[in-house]
C-alpha cells in the first residue's frame, strides 16, 4: 500500500484502488487538485477510485462541476468511482444537482472498498 500527499491532497492505494481525500473546502482549486490526483492514479494503473469527503465541510458549485469531470474521466478509463464519508448537507447538494445519478455513494471508506471488491464479480449498488 503506497501513500502520497501531493501538494495538499492525500491519497493512498490498496491494490488497484486509489483512495483520494478531499479537503475541507471543495472549490475550483481543490477540485482541480483532486482531478489531478485521480488522473495520476489512473495513469499509474489504478482501476477504481474512492474519493473520501470526511474532511469536507463546504462544497461550492464549481467544485461540484469538477467532480462531474472526474466522473467522466473515470468512465472513459473504465474505472469504478465511489464517493464516501459525505455529510448530510453535501449529499443533499449532490442530489440537488444530479450527481448521485452518476456515482455511487458509500457511508464510509470501508464500505466503499467492500463494494469495489464485490464489484469485481458482480454489479451492485449501495447507498445511504
Amino acid at each position: 500500500m503506497g501513500e502520497s500527499t501531493g501538494a495538499s491532497i492525500r491519497s493512498h492505494c490498496i491494490g488497484t484502488t486509489a483512495v483520494v481525500y478531499a479537503s475541507d473546502y471543495l472549490n475550483k482549486l481543490t477540485g482541480e487538485k483532486i482531478e489531478r490526483e485521480c488522473r495520476k492514479q489512473l495513469d499509474g494503473g489504478c482501476r477504481a477510485l474512492v474519493i473520501n469527503f470526511s474532511d469536507t465541510e463546504l462544497v461550492n458549485s464549481i467544485g461540484i462541476s469538477i467532480l462531474l469531470g472526474i466522473i467522466d474521466i473515470a468512465e472513459r478509463n473504465g474505472a469504478q468511482l465511489i464517493f464516501s464519508d459525505l455529510n448530510t448537507q453535501t449529499i443533499e447538494l449532490f442530489q440537488m444537482l444530479g450527481l448521485t445519478r452518476h456515482v455511487l455513494l458509500a457511508r464510509d471508506e470501508e464500505e466503499a472498498l467492500t463494494v469495489l471488491t464485490s464489484y469485481t464479480t458482480q454489479t451492485s449498488t449501495v447507498g445511504h
Binding site: 482531478e35 463546504l58 461550492n60 458549485s61 448537507q89 444537482l97
Partner: protein, 755 residues
C-alpha cells in the same frame, strides 16, 4: 505691495486653486520651466486633441510664474471669438501685454482683471519702465493710422521685444490659436504670431488645436527644429474621475462613485464637457446620483444648456448660413450612422449644394476640429466624440425631420439610459481585458516554453498543479518557441470595420512581425490574436468559429502568412485543443497568458449607514474570501437560533453568491458588499458588487425585480449552477434594481422546532 509667503498659491488668472487643478501636473511643470531652459529661448507648441482643454493649464502656469516674481514675466493672451479681425486681435494683445507687464512689475494681481486704456497704463507704469512703455504707446499711436494692417499686427505682436533686458524676460502664452482661422481678414494672425515670436528671441508658448497649429507653423515656414512640442490628449480615466470629484466638490454637486465613473466614460475625459455638466447640475440644483438623473440632465443641457451653446456656436462659425448648416447637420448625421464613411469631395458638394471655395472652408474647419478627415480629395466623416454625435442626432431630428421637441427629448433620454450600462460594461471589460497589444509588442524574438501556446499539453501536465511547480517545470522546459519581433499592432477592427461586433475591439488584435527578427519577405508574419469569451474551457464549436473568422479576416486583409493565437479564460476542451493542433493554431488559457507575460518582461497581468440589527461587510474578491463570508454568516445566523442544517444552507448560498459576484462582473473595485439584516423571523442578506450584469442574470432583472422562479432550469451546463443552488437553499431570492452591477437579496425564514 509685496506680501512675502502669502504670495504662494495666489489665484490671479486661474479659475481654480492649485490644489483643485488636477490631471496635468507634468504638463504644468513643463510649461513653468520652459522659459527658464538654458540656451537660446525656444517656442513651445502646445498641441491639443479636440476637447482636451488647455486654458486652465495656461492660466495656472501664469499664476505660478507670477507668484514667483522672478526674472520671467508671464503674459497670457486668449484669442477670442469676438475679435473681428487680426488687427483688432493684435491691438488687444498689445493692451493685454502692457497691462499684465505692469501688474507683474507692481506685483498687483488685481490689475490683471481691470480694463484700462493704453494712456491709463502709461500713467500706472513703474518709474523704471515708464520711459520704454511711453515710447511703445507713442509708436503704436503713430503706427495705427497707417494703411498697412500687416505692419500694425507685427508691431503689436513684437511689443514684448521692447522690454529692456534688465526689466525681465516676457514669456508670452497664446491660447485659442485655432480661433485665428475665423478672423475675417487678409492677415493670418496665427502665422504672424509664429513668425514674430520666433524672431523675438524670447520664450513663448502657442496653444491650440493640433491640426491648426501645425498647419500654421508650416504656413509660417518655421523650422520645426527650433520649437518644442507638448501634446495634450484628453484626460485619462483616472484623471477624469479626479476632475469630476474636485469640480463637483467645488460646485457643491452631490455624486456617487457609480455616476462619477459613468460621467468619466460618457464624456471621454473631456474637461470641457465635465465642467459644463457639473455647472448645469449646480444651476439646476440637480444631484446626479443615479443614471436617470445624469441622463436627464445631460439631455437637458444638450438641448438647451452649456453643451448646446458650445456646439451651436461651433456650427455657426463653421457654417454661417442656416441652409448650409441644416444640410451639414443632415450629411454629418447620416455619415455617422452610415457604413461607408469615405466620400468624394464632389459628392459632398452636391449634397450640400455649396460652391467649392465655401465648402472647402467648411471642410477645413471640420477637419481642424477632427469632426471629419479631409485630405482635399475625399471626406471621411462619422467621427467625433459621442457627445457631438448625440448633439448631431438631436439637431437632425429637430431641424431636418421636424420632430416635436418633446419626442426628441424623451427619446434622447431613453437612448442615453439604455446606453449607460453598455458604456460601463465596455469600460469594465476594457479594464480586465488582457493587454494583448502591450504583450505582443514585447515579444521581441524572445525564447519561451512552447507549452505556453498549447493548452492541451499544458493542461495535461499542469492542471491542478501548484503555481510554483508549474514555474519550476517551465524553467527547465526544453521545447522552446522563438517569438517573432513585432513591429506594428492594431485592433482587427482597424482593418475590417465590422469584426468588433463579435466582442470588444481590443480583444482581437493583428500584430505584424518578422520571425527571428530577419527582415525578409519569407519571414514576415501576421499574428492574429483573439480573446474568447467562455466561462468553461472553450469548446470545439466556439474555437472553430474564431479560427474561421480570423482565417477569413486574413484573406480579406491580404495577409499572406499568419499565425492564429486564441486565448480563453479556462483554456480549451480536448476536442478544441485537437482542432487547434490540426489548424496549426495556438491556444492558451489566461493562466498561460499570465505566465508568458511574466517571462517576457515587465507586465502587469490582468489582475452604507447601518441600523442596530444590520451588519455590513466588504470583502475583497478572490483568495477564497467567500469562506470568510460564510463564517461570518454562520455567526450571525446563530444569533437567530437557526438550526445547523439551515445555517449550512445559508452558508452555501452565500458562497455561491460571492462566487457569482466575483466571477463575471468585471468589477472595478474587486469588492463584494454584504448586508445582513436580522428580523424577528428571518435573516435578509444582500450581496452586491459593481460591474457588468452577467448575461445569465440580465433576463432576471426588470424594473420591479423578478422572482427567482423564472430562472431557466433547463440549462445542462456544468457551470452556472450557483443561482439554482441559491434558489433551492434560500426561501426568497430576488434582484434589486441598481444602476451599476448587481444586488442579490436572499431571505431565510426561521423555523423554530417545537419543544
Amino acid at each position: 505691495m509685496r506680501q512675502g509667503n502669502s504670495k504662494q498659491g495666489r489665484r490671479i488668472l486661474g479659475r481654480v486653486t492649485q490644489e483643485e487643478f488636477v490631471g496635468r501636473t507634468a504638463e504644468l511643470a513643463q510649461l513653468v520651466s520652459h522659459p527658464a531652459v538654458a540656451g537660446e529661448p525656444r517656442g513651445l507648441l502646445v498641441l491639443l486633441a479636440p476637447l482636451a482643454g488647455v486654458s486652465e493649464l495656461l492660466r495656472q502656469t501664469y499664476d505660478e510664474l507670477f507668484n514667483r516674481q522672478g526674472e520671467i514675466v508671464p503674459i497670457y493672451f486668449q484669442v477670442e471669438r469676438t475679435y473681428a479681425t487680426a488687427v483688432s486681435a493684435a491691438i488687444e494683445f498689445l493692451t493685454t501685454f502692457v497691462l499684465q507687464y505692469i501688474a507683474y512689475k507692481r506685483d498687483a494681481p488685481s490689475l490683471c482683471q481691470t480694463s484700462l486704456t493704453l494712456p491709463d497704463l502709461v500713467r500706472l507704469a513703474p518709474p523704471s519702465d515708464h520711459e520704454w512703455i511711453a515710447e511703445l504707446v507713442a509708436a503704436y499711436n503713430k503706427e495705427r493710422f497707417s494703411d498697412d494692417n500687416k505692419s500694425l499686427v507685427r508691431f503689436c505682436l513684437s511689443a514684448p521685444q521692447r522690454v529692456p533686458p534688465r526689466s525681465g524676460r516676457p514669456f508670452v502664452m497664446i491660447d485659442g490659436v485655432e480661433l485665428a482661422a475665423y478672423l475675417n481678414t487678409a492677415v493670418q494672425l496665427d502665422s504672424e504670431m509664429i513668425k514674430t515670436f520666433n524672431r523675438s528671441h524670447l520664450p513663448y508658448a502657442l496653444a491650440g488645436l493640433r491640426r491648426q497649429v501645425l498647419e500654421a507653423v508650416h504656413r509660417a515656414g518655421t523650422n520645426f527644429e527650433t520649437v518644442d512640442m507638448l501634446r495634450l490628449d484628453r484626460l485619462t480615466e483616472e484623471q477624469a474621475r479626479q476632475l469630476i470629484e474636485t469640480a463637483a466638490h467645488r460646485q457643491k454637486v452631490s455624486l456617487n462613485e457609480e455616476t462619477r465613473d459613468l460621467l468619466a466614460e460618457q464624456f471621454e475625459g473631456s474637461p470641457l464637457f465635465i465642467t459644463a455638466f457639473l455647472q448645469a447640475a449646480r444651476e439646476r440644483n440637480v444631484s446626479p446620483t443615479t443614471y436617470l438623473a445624469c441622463e436627464q440632465l445631460y439631455v437637458d443641457d444638450l438641448m438647451g444648456g452649456h453643451l448646446n451653446r458650445h456646439f451651436n456656436s461651433l456650427l455657426e462659425e463653421i457654417a454661417a448660413e442656416p441652409d448650409v448648416r441644416r444640410s451639414l447637420i443632415r450629411v454629418l448625421h447620416e455619415s455617422a450612422i452610415g457604413g461607408n464613411r469615405k466620400t468624394p469631395f464632389e459628392t459632398w458638394r452636391r449634397l450640400l449644394n455649396a460652391e467649392t471655395p465655401a465648402l472647402q472652408k467648411v471642410l477645413a474647419q471640420l477637419h481642424m476640429h477632427e469632426l471629419l478627415n479631409w485630405d482635399g480629395i475625399s471626406v471621411e466623416a462619422g467621427g467625433g466624440p459621442a457627445v457631438w454625435l448625440d448633439y448631431l442626432k438631436m439637431r437632425f431630428r429637430l431641424d431636418v425631420m421636424n420632430e416635436p421637441r418633446a419626442t426628441v427629448v424623451a427619446q434622447s433620454i431613453a437612448d442615453a439610459l439604455k446606453r449607460a450600462p453598455h458604456t460601463m460594461a465596455h469600460h469594465y471589460r476594457r479594464t480586465v481585458n488582457l493587454k494583448l497589444r502591450e504583450l505582443l509588442g514585447r515579444f521581441n524574438g524572445q525564447l519561451v516554453p512552447e507549452k505556453l501556446f498549447h493548452y492541451g499539453d499544458f493542461s495535461a501536465s499542469y492542471k491542478g498543479a501548484d503555481l510554483e511547480e508549474i514555474v519550476r517545470d517551465l524553467d527547465v522546459e526544453s521545447q522552446l518557441l522563438r517569438l517573432p519581433q513585432v513591429f506594428h499592432t492594431a485592433t482587427c477592427s482597424s482593418f475590417v470595420a465590422n469584426i468588433d461586433q463579435f466582442g470588444d475591439k481590443e480583444c482581437c488584435v493583428a500584430a505584424h512581425a518578422f520571425d527571428g527578427a530577419i527582415y525578409t519577405a519569407a519571414n514576415q508574419v501576421v499574428w492574429l490574436v483573439a480573446e474568447l469569451e467562455s466561462k468553461l474551457e472553450a469548446d470545439r464549436r466556439l474555437t472553430e468559429t474564431w479560427l474561421d473568422r480570423l482565417t477569413l479576416f486574413a484573406i480579406h486583409s491580404g495577409f499572406h502568412r499568419t499565425r492564429i493565437w486564441l486565448i480563453a479564460k479556462e483554456g480549451f476542451s480536448l476536442e478544441a485543443s485537437e482542432l487547434l493542433k490540426q489548424r496549426k493554431a495556438f491556444g492558451s488559457s489566461r493562466q498561460q497568458f499570465a505566465l508568458l507575460a511574466e517571462r517576457i518582461g515587465e507586465f502587469e497581468p490582468p489582475s452604507l449607514p447601518g441600523k442596530p440589527d444590520e451588519f455590513e461587510i466588504v470583502l475583497p474578491m478572490g483568495d477564497d474570501n467567500e469562506l470568510l463570508a460564510a463564517s461570518i454568516t454562520e455567526q450571525i445566523a446563530r444569533r437567530l437560533d437557526f438550526q445547523p442544517e439551515a445555517i449550512n444552507q445559508i452558508k452555501t448560498a452565500i458562497v455561491e453568491a460571492c462566487i457569482n459576484a466575483s466571477e463575471h462582473s468585471f468589477s472595478p473595485d474587486r469588492k463584494i458588499y454584504q448586508r445582513f439584516r436580522l428580523e424577528s423571523d428571518k435573516l435578509v442578506i444582500t450581496i452586491s458588487s459593481r460591474g457588468v450584469v452577467p448575461s445569465n442574470l440580465q433576463a432576471q432583472i426588470t424594473e420591479q425585480g423578478v422572482k427567482f422562479g423564472e430562472l431557466d432550469e433547463a440549462s445542462e451546463e456544468r457551470r452556472g449552477w450557483g443561482l439554482k443552488l441559491i434558489k433551492t437553499l434560500m426561501d426568497e431570492v430576488e434582484f434589486e434594481r441598481v444602476d451599476d452591477g448587481t444586488s442579490l437579496r436572499m431571505t431565510k425564514y426561521l423555523r423554530r422546532t417545537s419543544s
